[in-house]
């Protein structure tokens, strides 16, 4: 009996990465050996179905789990893939033969046929070719459906996708000539491999499905752990912050939608090839919901979780519920209860889906295998590994110097911002010289943050122009403005709360990296090098704050103190390689010592040549840092000058201090 604990200790001694490899190996062996161990065609078929649903769940997970876009009509893309393969391998659509078809016939894509009448074309698209092509076609539809709707608020998107999901089966039902309507496509060809047809035996489908699931898991993980995946998660966590960190919202949302659609299109080909028929009912709202239930059950955003969710639900339907029904009937017979003898749990599977959704949302929102695990807080010992570095940055030389031209970096000319009838900014002029520090002060509600929002493209300005390094940036989208080198922090801190410090800082580099979806999946040496360099740089930037942040790089931001969140926001902004840094009350919520420390750090950044525009209330910080102070009140610039001059300006005193001080001055 002492063997088990001993084994557990041995197991625990193996490094985590090794343990994962071991687990993966065992899983692979088990999955591959299954048909030999358990030679039952119906069960192997159930497993292949489960795999098909796992593929769908993996696709929906990219949309819902990674990017946070609730898609309730996901089965539409499944249908598109399915009908694509079905139409091009069945006898449904048969145009008249002409010589124009000959090249395709030579490629084996079509055959010449005649059934007593005229010569017709019979499509004979290969299964293996159909897989990637259908994925692309479905992705195309994803872009088509997504383009008008992905700008909508999240909840509207849900209902619009619900509608799309409903329309595709309606079209399938009513365009008889292509789809054979409600009766469904018949005679869809089974896949062939070197001339051998898969037929109706479950075994080959099983292995194909396992291969496809493995492929999609691989793609999912590669995407998740890349620049693309990080951008998706940033969108999920906070769209506004993501866009100001350089994430092109529309493009990345479309990419998520298209990738999810591609997975579904691929699955559609497989599923129809396996069933050799396609009817509109196979792709209705219940299917979309079932896939959603799988994702929710497994854990939104969790790759292995959704595979598990799909497997559990599919096997529940095909194995457990029929067994349970049989047992209940037997029990009913035993106790003589008529209802127990009649009840059929398989019919109530959708009821169970509904219950799963509700129960998971109420009690376990992160699913069976949560995508993110809460990182434990640092131990007291870990917090005290080294003395806190006060003032200045540590290792500043690693992040390089800024080279500035002469002249003005930023010129705000006569900018007016109105919200309805309220004038938030009224013809404001402001100039930040390259390499300088300008501070904006003014009472709360005087328009300071609105000014930052106008500069970074978050609110439209009705009048005026904003030039950065000589070019107009007013009217550009936030990500484009970031790309020019304008980075910011927010007064109310907008980090990505469920991501780690390191991930937050990596997202800051989004616009400076180039890896696309293909590169992320292939992960060629160039991508690896880029990613390694990005991570190195992120660590360098985090290390600037000494042991305030460095030991916490792997912690989720939501567990950090206020002051540390402010530091992460500065780090994230620095990671964007800004040409100008806009800091909105960077020291709010900090005590005097922390304030002083951050002020010194900002000063040292400026010492390296970084141009800074700063909103600040604490005058000692302003005096210490700024060359020029601009005072806003009621959306208007009331004065501008050197810190000392501004402090003596009577109008400023009136705006800021009100009557009490004026009385004190005049008395």
């Amino acid at each position: 009996m002492k063997i088990l604990p001993a084994l557990r200790r041995r197991f625990a001694a193996i490094p985590a990465a090794r343990r994962r490899q071991l687990g993966l190996l065992l899983l692979t062996v088990a999955v591959l050996a299954f048909p030999f161990v358990h030679d039952n065609d119906a069960d192997i078929d159930s497993m292949a179905n489960a795999a098909a649903y796992a593929m769908l769940a993996l696709g929906l997970n990219i949309v819902v789990g990674f990017a946070g876009l609730l898609d309730l009509g996901y089965a539409a893309f499944f249908a598109i893939g399915a009908y694509f393969y079905g139409v091009f391998t069945s006898f449904q659509v048969m145009p008249l033969w002409s010589e124009g078809w000959a090249p395709l016939a030579a490629l084996g894509l079509v055959e010449k046929m005649s059934q007593g009448g005229p010569e017709l074309v019979h499509f004979t698209l290969s299964f293996w070719l159909a897989l990637p092509v259908a994925a692309l076609v479905a992705a195309g539809f994803g872009v088509l459906f997504g383009a008008p709707t992905l700008r909508l608020r999240g909840d509207y998107l849900a209902i619009v996708t619900l509608g799309f999901g409903e329309i595709v089966p309606i079209v399938a039902r009513n365009v008889d000539s292509v789809t054979n309507g409600a009766a469904g496509l018949n005679g869809v060809q089974a896949p062939k491999l070197f001339g051998w047809s898969f037929g109706i035996d479950a075994m080959p489908y099983y292995y194909v499905s396992i291969g496809l699931v493995a492929l999609l898991i691989f793609v999912s993980i590669r995407l998740r752990d890349s620049r693309i995946g990080r951008a998706w998660m940033a969108i999920r966590e906070d769209e506004v912050a993501a866009s100001t960190m350089g994430v092109h919202l529309v493009r990345l949302k479309l990419l998520a939608f298209a990738t999810g659609a591609a997975f579904a299109g691929l699955t559609g080909v497989f599923y129809v090839a396996k069933l050799q028929t396609a009817t509109p009912e196979m792709f209705g709202f219940p299917v979309s919901t079932m896939v959603l239930v799988m994702v929710v059950l497994g854990g939104m955003g969790s790759v292995w979780g959704v595979v598990l969710g799909a497997a559990v639900l599919q096997l529940l339907q095909s194995w457990f519920l029929p067994d349970l029904t049989a047992w209940t009937h037997a029990f009913g017979e035993l106790v003589g209860n008529a209802w127990l003898q009649r009840v059929d749990f398989v019919e109530s599977v959708e009821l169970i889906f509904g219950i799963i959704l509700v129960v998971m949302m109420l009690f376990r929102r992160d699913g069976l295998i949560p995508a993110t695990r809460k990182t434990p807080a640092l131990s007291f010992a870990a917090q005290n590994v080294a003395g806190v570095q006060r003032g200045g940055f540590v290792g500043l030389e690693r992040i390089g110097r800024w080279r500035n031209g002469s002249g003005n970096a930023l010129e705000v000319r006569g900018v007016t911002v109105r919200f309805g009838g309220l004038i938030a900014l009224n013809k404001v002029f402001l100039t930040v010289p390259a390499g300088g520090v300008v501070a904006v002060i003014g009472p709360n509600g005087s328009g300071k943050s609105t000014l930052f929002n106008a500069i970074t493209g978050l609110v439209p300005a009705q009048e005026g122009s904003i030039h950065f390094e000589g070019a107009e940036i007013l009217g550009l989208k936030p990500h484009a403005i970031l790309a020019r080198g304008v980075a910011r922090t927010f007064q109310n801190i907008r980090l990505f709360p469920n991501l780690t410090v390191l991930e937050n800082v990596l997202i800051g580099q989004h616009a400076r990296l180039t890896t696309g979806p293909v590169g992320a999946v292939l992960r060629l040496p160039r991508t690896r090098a880029e990613e390694a360099a990005a991570t190195r740089r992120a660590h360098d930037i985090i290390a600037l704050f000494g042991n305030r942040l460095a030991p916490r790089a792997g912690q989720t931001v939501s567990g950090l103190s206020y002051a540390n969140r402010r530091r992460v926001e500065v780090a994230r902004a620095l990671a964007t390689r800004p040409r100008i840094l806009l800091l909105d009350e960077p020291t709010a919520g900090m005590n005097p010592a922390e304030t002083l420390e951050l002020a010194e750090q900002i000063k040292s950044l400026n010492g390296l040549g970084l141009t800074i525009l700063l909103i600040e209330h604490k005058l000692d910080v302003v005096t210490r840092l700024a060359d020029t102070v601009v005072v806003l009140d009621h959306g208007e610039k009331i004065t501008e000058g050197k810190p000392d001059e501004v402090r003596r300006n009577e109008e400023v005193l009136r705006a800021y201090l009100g009557r009490a001080v004026r009385e004190a001055i005049h008395v």
Partner: protein, 248 residues
Amino acid sequence: MSEPTDPILEFQAVNTYYGDLHVLKNVCYTIGRGEIVSLLGGNASGKSTTMKTIMGVVRPASGRVLFDGAEIQDMPTSERVRRGIAPVLEARRLFPRMTVYENLEMGAYTRPKGAGFAQDLERVYTLFPRVQERRGQIAGTLSGGEQQMVAIGRALMARPRLICMDEPSMGLSPLYVEQVFDIIRHINAQGTTIFMVEQNASMALSIAHRAYVLQTGQVVLSGTAKDLRENPAIREAYLGELQVPGAA
């Protein structure tokens, strides 16, 4: 410092969290009946959280909040309003698509309409003739100063014994700020206790009897307004975070 002997509101070692963030740290306040007390501090120092803790919008994790000697920290907001605490919220927060009159009605929400409603309405109209002129107008279309008057009037409609004000000067032009502060004094003279969060420290200290200074969620200083006004450290750090030129 002389603690008031007849407190209307007390915080006893209150700790408040937002998620993992520790926002109020062992905070103690004592607000005497009939006082004007200011709460000073920078943005994100815990001022607004104090207001929300009094009103019951956030609940403290530990500590006690006493109103009139009774523990209220676990009471719903509506019960606190019924007992006599009314808020003037940051940035006014009127109901923008309701008329001025309906906003005032909302102020009296916890009281049966018969019970002195007309009398209170009259009092608000006397205090703010402008509000009476605009009573049929949609609140969202008023100017900032007019909105602040309605916001204060709305609080008065609850016939409160304590009014909690969150930055009453925010976004107002100097003329309105003076008017608003005159009104606050006037309301206080009629017997209502005022607890006021203000960023405009000089202004706040000019009408307050006492004040607390909050920094990163902790009370770092407290005393009579006069003492604080003359405290050089306060002048440096908190008097509107601007120094008075030539030390006045």
